[in-house]
C-alpha cells in the first residue's frame, strides 16, 4: 500500500478491527463448541469449521467462537452453546450438523430467535 491519505486510515482500521476487537475480548455473541474427546469424535470439529465459515461469510465482527471441554451429554454430541449479551441465559444446541448451523446462525445470532427444534435447553449447569 503506497502513500496513504487520511481516509485510508479508516479503511485500514475497518479491515483490522475484527482482529483487534477479538483480542480485546469484546464481542456480542459467544458460540462455544463443546469438544471433549467424544465431542470431537462425534464431529464437533466439523461443526466448528462450519460455524467459522458462516461467521466469515456474513462478515460478522462481534461473534466470539471458542471451544470448551465436554458438556457431559455424550448422547447429544456434537453440541454447542450460544450466549448472547443481554439474553437471560445461554442456549445449548444438540445433535448438530453443518446444515443446521447455517439456520441457527441466521435465526439466533442475527435475528435473536432461538431455533427450538435444535435446542436442547436454556440456561447452564449451576456450579457451586
Amino acid at each position: 500500500m503506497g502513500k496513504i491519505a487520511i481516509e485510508d486510515l479508516a479503511k485500514i482500521q475497518e479491515a483490522a478491527r475484527y482482529k483487534i476487537a477479538l483480542r480485546q475480548g469484546a464481542g456480542r455473541v459467544r458460540i462455544n463448541v463443546h469438544m471433549g474427546t467424544c465431542g470431537i469424535a462425534a464431529g464437533a470439529r466439523g461443526i466448528l469449521t462450519a460455524v467459522m465459515k458462516e461467521i466469515e461469510a456474513r462478515n460478522l465482527h462481534d461473534v466470539i467462537i471458542t471451544n470448551s471441554g465436554c458438556a457431559g451429554l455424550c448422547s447429544q454430541e456434537p453440541m454447542m452453546t450460544i450466549e448472547v449479551l443481554g439474553e437471560p441465559a445461554p442456549v445449548k444446541y444438540v445433535l448438530l450438523t453443518p446444515e443446521k448451523i447455517t439456520k441457527i446462525i441466521d435465526m439466533h445470532v442475527l435475528k435473536g430467535q432461538v431455533v427450538k427444534e435444535c435446542a436442547l435447553a436454556l440456561g447452564s449447569e449451576r456450579t457451586r
Binding site: M1, K3, A5, I6, L9, R23, M35, M52, N67, S68
Partner: protein, 608 residues
C-alpha cells in the same frame, strides 16, 4: 481469514531472553500438527510488563493468562486448551501467599490496578505491523492535528493537559514546545531521548518494543507543533530488539507516507533519523546527547542558554523522553481534559502545580511481581509495592524503596503512603527520575546500596568538572572505608559535606543528582551508618567485612545431625567438625563467601 483465537505471546526482551521465541515456534508447530492453523493465530507482542513471570502468553479473546511457560508444556497446553477447550491450571498465575490461580488476565492484581495510556497497545498488537497500530486508532491523532488544529492549538492542548517531562526533570512539555517554537530559526530539531542509561530502568525499552508507532506519532505531532522538519531518536545500542522494531516501524511509516514529504498531502514534511548511543550514561543528559549526535564526545555544557533556544548544531531543539512523546497521541485523541483528570494537583493556573497522567515504573528489587507498571500519578508507594508488586519476596520485611535510578533517593517505610508525583518525591529528597523503582528489604544494607549507586554514577561521570570528577571519587573512597569497617565519625560529616558540595556546584544533572542516594540514606538510615562506624556491624548483613557466619548448634545437630555438607563446600576450609557432631566456623579463616549459608538445608547457619 478470520481466526477465532489469538495467542498473544510476549516478545519483550525479558521474555525473549527466556526463550519466548522458541515457545512461539513450538506453539505454531503444535497448532499446525493439529490442523488448527486456520483457526488459531499466534501473534508476538511487545512486553506485557509482568517480567517476573515471563515467558508469558495471553489467549484472546478469552483473556487467559499463562505464565512461566516452558517449551515442554506447549504440546499439552495446545491439546488441552485449544483442542479440548480446558484451561491448564498449573500454568495459570497464582498470586503469592494464595492458592487459587487467577485465569483471567484482567483479574490479576498486577494488571488490574494499572491504568494504561502509554502502554495501552502492549500485548494487543504486533509492534511490527503498522496496520494493527492503525486498527487501534493509530495516527488518528496526527490526522486530527494536521487537518483541524494549528500548531498553537496543539501546544495549548498539551499545556492544558498538564503533561510534564517523563525523563526525570518533569519540565512542563507544553511550555518547552512553546519556547522552542517561538525561537526564530530556519531549522528546529525534535529529539527523542531513548538513552535510558539508568541501571534497572527499562520503561523506554518496553514502550518502543511494544508500540514504536506511538512514539513516532508523538514526534510527528510535536514536530508539527514546533515547526520542525527533522527528528532524531537517540537510542541505546544495547537495545537491539527495540532498535530493530523502531527501524521497522519507521520504514513502514515512511512507506505509508507518514514520514517524509507532504505527510497526508499536507504542507508538512518530517524525517526521523536514528542515532545509536555508545553506552555512556552521561549521554542521557540533553546537552551531552546533542554533542554525541553532532559527533563530538558526549560531554554536557552549561545549560544557562536552554537547549530549546540553542541546542543541536546551535539550532532550537526540543528534547523529550520516549514516554513523554508516547503520551502525546492519546492527549490529542482523547483531549487535554481526559488526561488532566488523571493524576494530582491543578495545572490550570501553575504549570508546575500538578503531576498529570500516568507514569511507567520499572518495579524491581525484593518485590514479588517485578515488571513494568503504568500507574496514575498520585498512587501511593504502598499500593505499588504491595498491591501491584505483590509484597516483599519470601515474606521479608520492607526496608526502603529507591526511585529515580542512581540519581534518585531512598524512601523509608515511614513514607510508604507518600503519593507518587514530582513534587512529593523531590520533597523527600528523591526524584521521579526515569521511573526506576528498586525495593530493598531487611537484608539490604543501605550503605552498600548507596555505595552501589554512587559507584555507578562515579564511573559514568564524564570527568569534565572538578566537583563531580573528584567529589564523587572521594565520596566513594569514604563509603569504601565505611563498608570495610574503617569509617570514622568525621567521615560521615565529611561525606555529607562533600555530597552537598557536589550537588550544588556540579556542571550537569549527573553530578547534581549522584549524591542523592547517599544523602537520603544518611537522612533516613543514619543509624545504619552509625552501626557500621561504631559497632563495625552491618544491619543488612551484606557488608562482607562486617558480617559473621555462625552455626546454630541445635539446628545443626538437632535437625541436620551434623550432615557435614557445609564443611565439604567451604572453599576456605573454615568449618570444623565431623559428621554427626556440631560444626563450628573458624572466624579467622572464614572468607564470608556465604556458600555454607546457601547449602545448609536446615537453615542452621545465621549471619550476625
Amino acid at each position: 481469514m478470520a481466526y477465532r483465537t489469538y495467542l498473544m505471546v510476549c516478545a519483550g526482551t525479558g521474555c525473549v531472553a527466556n526463550q519466548s521465541m522458541k515457545i512461539k515456534d513450538k506453539l505454531e508447530s503444535e497448532i499446525r500438527k493439529r490442523g488448527l492453523q486456520d483457526e488459531v493465530s499466534v501473534v508476538t507482542t511487545g512486553c506485557n510488563g509482568f517480567c517476573a513471570v515471563g515467558p508469558l502468553m495471553v489467549v484472546q479473546p478469552d483473556g487467559i493468562f499463562y505464565q512461566l511457560l516452558k517449551e515442554t508444556d506447549i504440546p499439552f497446553l495446545v491439546e488441552e486448551h485449544f483442542v479440548k477447550g480446558r484451561l491448564v491450571k498449573e500454568l495459570l498465575y497464582t498470586p503469592p501467599r494464595e492458592k487459587a490461580p487467577i485465569p483471567k488476565m484482567s483479574d490479576i492484581p498486577f494488571f488490574a490496578d494499572q491504568t494504561l495510556i502509554v502502554l495501552r497497545n502492549r500485548g494487543l498488537i504486533n509492534p511490527e505491523n503498522i496496520d494493527e497500530y492503525i486498527a487501534r486508532g493509530g495516527y488518528q491523532a496526527l490526522a486530527k492535528v494536521l487537518t483541524l488544529m494549528t500548531p498553537d492549538q496543539v501546544i495549548q492542548e498539551i499545556k492544558a493537559s498538564g503533561l510534564r517531562g517523563r525523563g526525570g526533570g518533569g519540565f512542563p512539555t507544553g511550555i518547552k514546545w512553546e519556547t522552542c517554537k517561538n525561537v526564530p530559526s530556519d531549522t528546529h530539531y525534535v529529539i527523542c531521548n531513548a538513552d535510558e542509561g539508568d541501571p534497572g530502568a527499562f520503561m523506554d525499552r518496553s514502550t518502543i518494543e511494544s508500540d514504536p508507532h506511538a512514539v513516532i506519532e508523538g514526534m510527528l505531532i510535536g514536530a508539527y507543533a514546533i515547526g520542525s522538519r527533522e527528528g532524531y531518536v537517540y537510542i541505546r545500542n544495547e537495545y537491539p530488539i527495540a532498535l530493530e522494531r523502531l527501524q521497522v516501524a519507521i520504514k513502514q511509516a515512511r512507506e505509508y507516507g507518514l514520514l517524509g514529504q507532504k505527510i497526508f498531502n499536507k504542507d508538512f514534511d518530517f524525517e526521523i533519523r536514528i542515532v545509536r548511543g555508545a553506552g555512556a550514561f552521561v549521554c542521557g543528559e540533553s546537552t551531552a546527547l546533542m554533542a554525541s549526535i553532532e559527533g563530538r564526545p558526549g560531554e554536557p555544557r552549561a545549560k544557562y542558554v536552554h537547549t530549546v533556544e540553542r541546542g543541536l548544531w546551535d539550532k532550537p531543539t526540543c528534547l523529550n523522553n520516549v514516554e513523554t512523546w508516547a503520551n502525546v497521541p492519546q492527549i490529542i485523541e482523547k483531549g487535554a481534559g481526559w488526561f488532566s483528570s488523571i493524576g494530582t494537583g491543578d495545572v490550570t493556573s501553575d504549570a508546575w502545580g500538578g503531576s498529570k497522567g500516568t507514569k511507567v515504573f520499572s518495579l524491581a528489587g525484593k518485590v514479588n511481581n517485578t515488571g513494568l507498571i503504568e500507574v496514575p500519578m498520585g498512587i501511593t508507594l504502598r499500593k505499588i509495592i504491595f498491591d501491584i508488586g505483590g509484597g516483599i519476596k519470601d515474606g521479608k520485611k520492607f526496608k526502603a524503596v529507591q526511585t529515580g535510578g542512581p540519581s534518585g533517593g531512598f524512601i523509608p517505610e515511614s513514607l510508604l503512603d507518600l503519593p507518587v508525583d514530582y513534587e512529593e518525591l523531590t520533597k523527600v529528597g528523591s526524584m521521579m527520575g526515569s521511573g526506576g523503582m528498586v525495593v530493598a528489604d531487611e537484608n539490604n544494607c543501605m550503605v552498600d546500596m548507596a555505595k552501589y549507586f554512587l559507584a555507578f554514577t562515579q564511573a559514568e561521570s564524564c570527568g569534565k568538572c572538578v566537583p563531580c570528577r573528584e567529589g564523587t571519587k572521594r565520596m566513594l573512597d569514604i563509603l569504601e572505608k565505611i563498608t570495610v569497617g574503617k569509617g570514622t565519625e568525621e567521615d560521615l560529616v565529611l561525606l555529607e559535606e562533600l555530597s552537598n558540595m557536589v550537588v550544588e556546584s556540579s556542571l550537569c544533572a549527573l553530578g547534581g543528582s549522584a549524591p542523592n542516594p547517599v544523602l537520603t540514606t544518611l537522612k533516613y538510615f543514619r543509624e545504619e551508618y552509625e552501626a557500621h562506624v561504631k559497632d563495625k556491624h552491618c544491619p543488612g548483613h551484606s557488608c562482607r567485612e562486617l558480617i559473621q557466619y555462625i552455626i546454630d548448634p541445635e539446628l545443626c545437630l538437632g535437625k541436620g545431625h551434623g550432615c557435614h555438607v557445609c564443611a565439604k563446600n567451604c572453599p576456605d576450609g573454615a568449618i570444623v567438625g565431623e559428621t554427626k557432631q556440631v560444626h563450628t566456623i573458624d572466624v579467622m579463616k572464614c572468607g564470608k563467601c556465604g556458600i555454607c549459608y546457601d547449602v545448609c538445608k536446615f537453615d542452621a547457619i545465621h549471619i550476625e
